[in-house]
């Protein structure tokens, strides 16, 4: 205490045994957090050494003690007393004595108010997990229902949404997502055309690369790839934004101001996605087909005209309409699940991270499930 730890002498311990069996333990130098392990080992040895009488801990030579060091000294005294012997702490300077007084040994053994063990056996964990899943599913369904009701109400009262926010989220989710969507779609088109041409060329069926790619892109890959990209880019962003607002009590502030967080935060995001995702998907379809065109013209000796003609012949209006409906559903699910996960956040930063992850995972899961349903329904749908 009297000087800095770095300038203090290293810790030393001296034992002086008196004739009557009593002993004096002289502690010198510094007892601090740094090197405390070695010091406690030496002190433990003192505590366990056989001794007939009183033990006096002489602290007059101590140059520096921090609170951890003071704790070690008190623990030594306690250990000696626990063996039924007497022990006193002598010649402590006022500073050291102040530090010793600071520490309440009683408080250290007090049991914790709550236990660490919050673990359960496997069966209950499985049960809890399943119940949590059901609760979660019902919450998501209720949330989706609320949004649909709000969207219907919106048709009669367009003023209840801030359209400037809708434009903002259209830019964030749509325009700013354009580069990555174009890149992935173009590469996807190139790859599929190239891989399928390897097979089709053997039969001289080069021209069918165009039809294969057109159908694959428009019916399945375009909608799915775009939806997964938007879920990763924007669904996560929605969850993180609303989650952080929740942590900062901004959502509560909206409620107290009489603004419905649902209208204020969710609807603009959902509307923006509903507008932007179908557009992005069309764009992705186009770029995928262009990717196929590049492969067809450069590697397969097809003419641009014949490639486009083949693509036009194979695609029907039905393909476009079903693809469009699918993307609208995807867009709705991505935005709604993102917002729902955001509103679920309780606690701090870690909860925001969990919500973001869960938003992406749940959205992708729902995209795949819905896509499977569409695939079956559209196959058996009478045209």
């Amino acid at each position: 205490m009297t000087s800095d730890q770095t300038h203090s002498a290293p810790f030393q311990i001296h034992l002086e045994t008196g004739e009557d069996g009593s002993r004096r333990v002289v502690l010198q130098g510094a007892i601090a957090l740094q090197g405390l392990e070695a010091v406690t080992a030496q002190l433990q040895a003192v505590a366990q050494a056989p001794c007939g009488g009183h033990t006096s801990l002489d602290l007059s030579g101590l140059e520096y003690v921090d609170s951890a060091g003071a704790l070690a000294i008190l623990k030594l005294a306690e250990a000696i007393k626990a063996q039924g012997r007497t022990c006193s702490i002598d010649h402590a300077s006022p500073n050291v004595q102040g530090l010793l007084n600071l520490i309440d040994l009683q408080a250290l053994v007090q049991p914790s108010l709550v236990g660490t063990g919050r673990r359960q056996d496997v069966i209950s964990q499985i049960g809890e997990g399943f119940l949590a899943f059901l609760r979660d599913a019902s919450k998501v369904i209720i949330f989706l229902g609320e949004i649909i009701i709000d969207l219907v109400t919106l048709c009669f009262r367009p003023g209840m949404v801030r359209w400037r926010d809708v434009l903002l989220y259209m830019r964030r989710a749509g325009v700013e997502g354009l580069p990555i969507v174009s890149l992935i779609a173009l590469l996807l088109g190139l790859i599929i055309a190239f891989m399928s041409s390897l097979q089709l060329r053997q039969f001289g069926a080069n021209i069918f690369v165009a039809s294969l790619l057109a159908i694959a892109m428009v019916r399945e890959l375009g909608p799915i790839m775009t939806a997964i990209l938007v879920a990763g880019r924007s669904g996560s962003a929605f969850a993180a934004e609303i989650g952080t607002m929740k942590v900062n009590e901004e959502v509560d502030a909206l409620t107290v101001m009489g603004l419905n967080p649902m209208h204020f935060l969710t609807l603009p995001k959902v509307i923006a996605s509903l507008i932007v995702v179908p557009l992005l998907t069309m764009y992705a379809n186009l770029l995928g087909i262009i990717g196929g065109l590049i492969v067809g013209v450069t590697l397969l000796d097809l003419t641009v005209y014949s490639y486009i003609q083949e693509t036009r012949n194979i695609l029907t209006v039905f393909d476009f309409v079903s693809s469009f409906i699918k993307t609208v559903v995807f867009a709705f699910l991505i935005a709604a699940i993102g917002c729902q996960r955001g509103f679920q956040v309780r606690g701090g930063a870690a909860a925001v991270g969990e919500a973001t992850t869960s938003a992406v995972v749940a959205a992708i899961f729902m995209i795949i499930v819905v896509d499977s349903i569409f695939a079956i329904v559209l196959t058996y749908y009478p045209r």
Binding site: E37, S67, A68, L71, A107, G347, G348, A350, A351
Partner: protein, 282 residues
Amino acid sequence: MKLPEAEPIIIVEHLRAEFGDNLIFRDVSFQVRRGEIFVILGGSGCGKTTLLKHLVGLYRPTAGRVLVNGVDVVAQDPVEMEQVRRGTGMLFQAGALFGSMTLAENIALPLQQYTNLPGPLIDLIVRMKLSLVNLNGFENHLPEEISGGMKKRAGLARAMALDPAILFFDEPSAGLDPVSAVELDLLIKWLNAALGTTMVIVTHELQSIYLIADRIIMLDKDAKGIIAEGDPRVLRDTATDPKVASFFNRQPVGAEYQRLAQKLQIRLTTVAAPLEGSTGGG
């Protein structure tokens, strides 16, 4: 413990802070002495917290330097900075406890990172730190399960984990009820007396300033620097600067005073006379 001419532990020389074109303060110089409770105060928006973040090296100044325990914080030499960081602790406004960790894990974190003590010993030290801030028994609570005042005390326990020579406080009493606030103030004073820790506190709570501060500096938004320095109890009685006087006597100042007085149709009496003399034009 507090010798009047104790050696300085923090030296600030000609510090200047700007964010873009926005000048926060310029040419701020002062010293903090070892073992004292030093308060940085001033009205809202005068750069108190900014100054504190410069002292701990979170922000880098445009010009000037900060010496903490003889180490230049501005230079940010990695080895020296680790020394400085080990020797300082900071209590953030809302405690800044890690939400995913229990209180015990929060406090054990610096101990595990900076020392190689065995687990049981760290446990013991953690319990002692918690008992110092009167949170015994709350080892396994998560930060979200305790109140704001308890969070601040737990944050203080974490800041003290390594027995730092200097503790920084950012508005310790903000957001606390008067009783919790005064309890925290007394805890700070008690720890200062018992551990000899130098305390640097940013606050604008007058009562807490009178209770704990040994020395203060006062920053001002318009002067962009220090407008008063010294013992707050002396400053209250002797300050001639209208801003300083009005702060210590809780009076609105200058044009704002005129406006409020006019609106309320009353005369705010106590310091009205000197104020009107000095702000007659405004």
